[in-house]
Subunit: 348 residues, 2 copies
Amino acid sequence: MEEIASRAPSIRDVAQAAGVSTATVSRTLTTPDVVSKSTREAVFAAIEATGYRVNLAARNLRKRETGAIAVLVPNLANPFFSRILAGIAEVMMEAELNVLIADTKPTAGGEHSFPEYVRQNHVDGIIVLDGKLRHEKLLDRGSPDIRAPMVFACEWIASIGRPVVTVDNQEASVRAVQHLLKLGHRKIGHICGPQENVLSSSRLEGALGAMQSVGLRMKPDWIYPGDFSLQSGAEAAKQWVRSDDRPTAVFAACDEMALGFMGELMRRKVRVPRDVSVVGFDDLEMAAHFVPALTTVHQPRATMGRAAARMLLERMRMRPEDRVAGPAPRIILPVKLAERESTAPPPG
Amino acid sequence: MEEIASRAPSIRDVAQAAGVSTATVSRTLTTPDVVSKSTREAVFAAIEATGYRVNLAARNLRKRETGAIAVLVPNLANPFFSRILAGIAEVMMEAELNVLIADTKPTAGGEHSFPEYVRQNHVDGIIVLDGKLRHEKLLDRGSPDIRAPMVFACEWIASIGRPVVTVDNQEASVRAVQHLLKLGHRKIGHICGPQENVLSSSRLEGALGAMQSVGLRMKPDWIYPGDFSLQSGAEAAKQWVRSDDRPTAVFAACDEMALGFMGELMRRKVRVPRDVSVVGFDDLEMAAHFVPALTTVHQPRATMGRAAARMLLERMRMRPEDRVAGPAPRIILPVKLAERESTAPPPG
DNA sequence: ATCCTGCATGTAATCGATTACAAGATAGAA
DNA sequence: TTCTATCTTGTAATCGATTACATGCAGGAT
């Protein structure tokens, strides 16, 4: 017996059905304690009867809010980000904010795509997981005081002073390399992340630093280029195989590359960890299921997402002028090394 | 020299700056051809000068639209969905619609979460990738004619007559099993997807049917329960190892389970494909990089996402009364079997 | 000169919810 | 009884953009 309505019921329909004014209906919804019990019940009954749903566009227009936050992800296809997103979504759902997810992966044109709703301030806040976006794009969003607050997570852009939630990439890399050193490796290589990425450089620096502090150097040949993809890990493996003077252990800047590296090696009958040890970074689900299971730096991905979300909520509650005052906060989450089967003492 | 404004510039500010009415500004933005060249230029200059951005809440309120569509994903952490999302995002960005992504994975409470913005008709359309949602939730969104159109992709709910974009899961499974039969396998097992899932049942049926059509049966012991996770694939492997009468080939309902299965087997010194052949379903990136590379049914994921998005756009343009008339369209995309290293003739 | 046509623009109503302010009702105090 | 305090409710302005309708003007036809 569903009634056919030409348009969705509005607050006026509810008001009429309950025999009150629209103001009372609105108050019943937003501040129930200021209306009398009897009217409250009448209004709720009318809402039930009419099937009324608040029109968010109208509410947002009036309240000068949008009720949504945006998350900019460098590459949705990379499983690394999904857990972080889940953490963000969890917190934001509780705060009754919608989450818009945008993949900023460069399109055919080569330019990083950038949704209009971010540029046009159509969100109340922004979480950026992409450290490669162009500065202007992120900052060209009107004058600072009407700009939606922004926080970085995982990656960040050093020249933009905004809060960051991340792990100590350098320290984590030091620990990964120290693990290899402790096993007796002296010839250690590194598969890098994409250039001009803060993660790539700090992980490389950490690795180099750990070597240096025990008086070792990393041969330039052992520093393989990469872009965080399985494919680039496989490329590094081909390069490793071709070489005369091979590292006995390789630390990859992410698990995907580590897995791609191991896969290609094993396909060429190189055994891990007997012939070469491999350490990754991230601890994807797959890392523990691969054979051999990958020794890797565990990142608390869901925790990072939740922390970034909470940080953003806090910034959204601040007055705009307070946001720019003082240094941007920085949350560094702890990491641990998950020691599994892909590392062992060097051969010979 | 950025000017400090207490609020974002509105269309009135632009109108004032350009010396025209708000109507003219609006027309310049939406139908530039009806305003004269000179005013058009003046308005654009004023927009530039004021840093004006359309207020979407106001526009949507007036136009009775929301400018967004929602995608309901069963589990964002599963890499299978990311490519589909990328396909959807690509088409929707072109159509200037925002994409809201919601993970419907059951929360601690056990109930599938369901964002308010879907329930409350705060989107112009919905793409559902989750076939396990409760019917009422999807349909309890007001009377049919004011309801946002909905299409299913990949998974669907048989009792809800809405357009579907998918592959022929049954046929694909038949082909996967035929491949094993052709190699000489007679004892073939299957790792199932979660119960009460259309994909699980049609893939199982396809497998059983292929066996049956050559006069073979699948022993109940060879039908392993699963839930599309790596872990459940590993569990199946433990079961396989324990058994006396083992299948010589196993067809898994998804790649994650196939990889989890192979990983656990190899960890127990069972060799793939020498001791047992494995076929997956989906063709994740990882499938080709695993060792051995996984033979699997390739799903055109990005294509599926794009097709679903275009289908939804089409439905959004239809008049509501036309949407309910006639049967819901159904797009079946072709699949192909990617034959790789995880399958070989049975041992002995 | 007069009228008509068509283009460019302005006026003002509208979308649906929120909220400052006013006003009415009720109860208790003096 | 009268006045005040408190609680509840209604009136109407407002948020910012869109658009139906009205108006004004230029140029051509008669």
